[in-house]
């Protein structure tokens, strides 16, 4: 049993406490609540936007944004580091000073250890904070216990690089250190996972690095899914610019890893060795969410009201971003951004005694195939019969003939600039 599994169970037990059992040794209250207050947990693509838009819509509501780190590194575009299109992660890194100042958001840089939906408090290492409404946008945890041999050393040996930062840098360094003629193994877990096009973009980014630096090498993608999850036709065509460098294996779920032998086991029988191995485990909502009793019957994701993103399990707690079950909206950065605005709008409506407003959401995702070629998927979302669905006859993917790939890369760069500016100012 791994450390992750243990801490997960521990938090599950803590959740039972939060759900009703008497609390022993309640943390000291910090920042006593005066007026109406919303706490937002997580300063990523969802949380930063929820905090900002609540303040933009109603300046009389106090917003406290709790985030563990002083800086945030964007997952979208982090594959660029692997290809070498960027030399470091500075263009993907944002802070919160301007956001806090421009909108009057109170920043708390601390780690949340528990949510108590009954008492309406959030406990951090520094103490407990009360809320009227809570937005949680915590990202994902890895279901490492589903991979035999995966222990707390594995991420240092076989980085997932599925949360941008040191993991991304580590994977890049491993690629740089690899001899020409080596084998890079990438893995994709069973859907749904964060960033559906991510693994397929990553293959292209690694292949581009190999093409220019280590042309005798190859990259193998072991995909647990029966086929490419996102834009299959477009990705297959895109990969053609790296002949002989990419090997794609579908229905190839990694069931075990061997840190010492530098190998992974596919479907329990087929051992594949690599010089660089990138293991991306399957995902679920975070342990914090499990502890708060916010995860649904699937034991993976947080069910929410499709119009407001309020948890269907606990009143006044809202979940946006990758941890939520958002129907047809994919687990992407843009979805989190859009969901956070829908949620903010409906929180402000509810706090002012108004009826909920029908949701309207957007997702746009760009994936690069080379430094100046990208493809996209886009969609507009609404609610039908209580579920988030794509608006019929809208949305879709890039032209199959690739004729827009260069101009889409230009738009993609502005996508990044605008969405990170939204989050940080």
């Amino acid at each position: 049993m791994t450390l992750d599994r243990r801490s997960f169970l521990k938090l599950l037990a803590a959740g039972a406490g939060a759900a009703g059992l008497p609390m022993i040794g309640r943390a000291a209250e910090i920042m006593p609540k005066k007026g109406r207050r919303v706490i937002v947990i997580g300063g990523g693509y969802g949380g930063s936007i929820a905090a900002k838009y609540i303040r933009m819509l109603d300046k009389t509501i106090e917003v406290v944004l709790i985030e563990k780190n002083k800086q945030y590194v964007s997952c979208p575009f982090s594959n660029h580091l692997l290809a070498g299109y960027i030399k470091d992660l500075s263009s993907l890194t944002i802070g919160y000073d301007k956001l806090a100042k421009n909108h009057g958001i109170t920043m708390v840089y601390d780690e949340v250890t528990a949510i108590d939906p009954a008492a309406k408090t959030v406990t951090t290492k520094g103490g407990s904070i009360a809320y009227d409404k809570l937005v949680v946008s915590p990202g994902v945890d890895f279901r490492t216990e589903e991979i035999e041999g995966y222990d707390d050393k594995t991420p240092d040996i076989m980085p997932h690089a599925w949360k941008a930062g040191p993991q991304t840098i580590l994977l890049r360094k491993q690629l740089e250190a690899m001899k020409d003629g080596g084998t890079v193994i990438l893995t994709a877990p069973l859907a749904p996972f964060r960033c559906p096009p991510g693994p397929y973009e990553r293959v292209a980014m690694v292949a581009d690095y190999l093409k220019n630096n280590k042309p005798k090498s190859k990259v193998i993608l072991l995909d647990a899914n029966p086929d490419i999850v996102s834009k299959p036709t477009l990705f297959r065509k895109g990969w053609e610019m790296y002949p002989g460098l990419i090997e794609y294996r579908k229905a190839a779920k990694v069931t075990a890893v061997n840190n010492q032998a530098m190998s992974v086991m596919v479907e329990g029988i087929d051992e594949v060795k690599g010089d660089v191995i990138n293991v991306v485990p399957a995902q679920r909502a975070t342990a914090l969410m499990a502890g708060a009793g916010l995860i649904g019957e699937d034991k993976k994701w947080c069910p929410v009201n499709a119009t407001t993103f309020e948890s269907t399990l606990h009143k006044d707690v809202y979940v946006v971003g990758d941890s939520s079950s958002a129907g047809a909206m994919p687990k992407s950065g843009y979805s989190a951004n859009s969901e956070a605005k829908v949620c903010a709008t409906n929180i402000v409506a509810a706090m002012n005694g108004k009826e909920p407003i029908e949701m309207s959401g957007i997702n746009t995702c760009y994936s690069f195939l080379s430094h100046d070629e990208a493809i996209s998927v886009a969609g507009v979302y609404t609610v039908k019969e209580g579920k988030i669905v794509g608006v019929p006859n809208s949305g879709g993917i890039s032209k199959l003939d690739y004729s827009d790939a260069k101009v889409e890369a230009k738009y993609a760069n502005s996508w990044l600039k605008n969405i990170l500016t939204e989050m940080s100012t």
């Binding site: 709008t345 009826e355 959401g361 209580g386 230009k410 996508w415 600039k417």
Partner: protein
């Protein structure tokens, strides 16, 4: 709208929610979803993406309707525009029109700006009012748009991918590539 409401009534019933109705999407609900690409309140920080802030309502509606029908070619904009009703598009147009002009600080060529000023006055000012700070009918506000975005649009016009309005085509016919470039620099410089 009535069809939408009946669907919603079913949705509400299925969820057994306490509140009886949802309000139709507000202009903010619709328009804020665009901001991930076009910037908060339509003020773009990305230089290939147009700002929508302060855009003329008629120009916004015209562009969106053409994206929706496919008359104006696009990458993702047409795919997204198809997701909105004509009323939705009008609501978004109203929202963006109310926003303050997004002022960009770009590197522009002063000589080109000076030449552009003269050319604008002579050729474009009857539709692009107030040095491009105001639209007229479906003529868009041009002031402070990003140079790379404007250059991309001029390339689309030149290649015939984007159809130029007849009145504009008449004027552009007599202008050289350098003169068109000067005009773009002029509009980009306006604050």
């Amino acid at each position: 709208m009535s069809k939408k409401w009946s669907t919603l009534a079913i949705a509400v019933g299925a969820l057994a929610m306490s509140s009886a109705t949802f309000a139709a999407p507000s202009p903010e609900m619709l328009a804020n979803a665009c901001a991930g690409c076009h910037g908060t309140n339509g003020g773009s920080a990305g230089d290939t993406m147009p700002s929508l802030a302060n855009q003329s309502e008629a120009a916004f509606v015209d562009a969106m309707m053409k994206f929706k029908s496919g008359e104006r070619s696009s990458t993702i904009m047409g795919r997204l525009a198809k997701g909105y009703s004509d009323e939705d598009i009008k609501a978004m147009a109203g929202f963006f029109n109310k926003q303050k002009l997004h002022v960009t600080n770009q590197m522009v060529d002063k000589k080109k700006v000076a030449l552009g000023a003269k050319l604008q006055e002579k050729n474009c000012s009857r539709c692009h009012l107030e040095e491009g700070k105001e639209g007229k009918d479906d003529t868009p506000v041009m002031a402070s748009q990003w140079l790379p975005y404007l250059q991309m649009q001029m390339e689309l016009y030149a290649s015939g991918t984007r159809k130029m309005p007849d009145k504009m085509a008449e004027k552009v016919k007599g202008l050289s590539k350098d003169e068109l470039d000067a005009l773009i620099h002029f509009y980009a410089s306006k604050k």
